[in-house]
Symmetry: C2
Subunit: 128 residues, 2 copies
DNA sequence: TCCTAAATTGATAACTACTATCATTTTATG
DNA sequence: CATAAAATGATAGTAGTTATCAATTTAGGA
């Protein structure tokens, strides 16, 4: 990865912002500092830096929402090979709501855990 | 909420599908059963049923991804009043990856927890 | 049963977040 | 310097979703 003024600026703005800006918000911040960056450049750099581990992209799921008739509390696992979504029992994270409420004092209305990885079937298929 | 053929069909297809279909996939399933439903109607009903608690919408975050310079393992809380994103320490869900790996046998590459609720400041503001 | 108001539908158009294309510019290195 | 690789950014396009709104359907009364 080569150096570029724009990337430096983007990382700079991101580092000095305690909030977790969206691309749109970053564009705005950059404009305010008179360091305009093209939209494409911004997105490209955010993705590059995220896959280089320099920053973190928080997006949980792909573009489209999934719907589930199972309204019991449970979590989700998305296989990056086959794209299938699997249910994960809520017992894998006991008292996560209680812990979080105690740690923050916030009111928690809902929460979701999304795992990304490779499911059993795809693991098997890749071995052969 | 009044009865409607379309809503019944949508819920029916959703209930009989162990996978967690996207709106697009649902549209396809409905077509296969010769019960065409308009795109708008589908989305409207999914959202209505989700907010009525009849089904669950899995999307974790709003449309746009957020970026974070903090690459330490941590989770996120989104305040539904002010929209701010807060960091939550990973200690609120100890051994969640280990538990999930043991429960499923899946390879877990990454995971994210997103809480929705009301932050301290907004709680205070609403009291006054 | 019929009447009416409220709810629902669905075609169309629009919006938002994001990505592909590609000519131009910048950076790193021999 | 020279040159190849990398990066930029304007433009156009895509995907998922929502707004608009006239036409249809539903749920209760009279």
């Amino acid at each position: 990865m080569n150096y570029s003024k724009q990337r430096e600026k983007i990382l700079d703005v991101l580092t000095n912002n305690p909030i977790h800006p969206t691309a749109d918000e970053l564009l705005e911040f950059l404009k305010e500092e008179n360091s305009n960056v093209g939209l494409t450049t911004l997105y490209r750099n955010l993705n590059q830096m995220a896959s280089a581990g320099m920053i973190k992209k928080i997006d949980g799921l792909e573009a489209s929402a999934h719907f589930d008739h199972n309204t019991f509390e449970h979590y989700h696992f998305i296989c990056k090979e086959c794209g299938k979504v699997f249910d994960i029992p809520s017992s894998v994270a006991p008292s996560v709501v209680k812990n979080t409420r105690e740690a923050t004092g916030f009111d928690i209305i809902s929460h979701d855990i999304v795992f990304h990885g490779v499911c059993s079937e795809c693991k098997k298929r890749k071995e052969n």
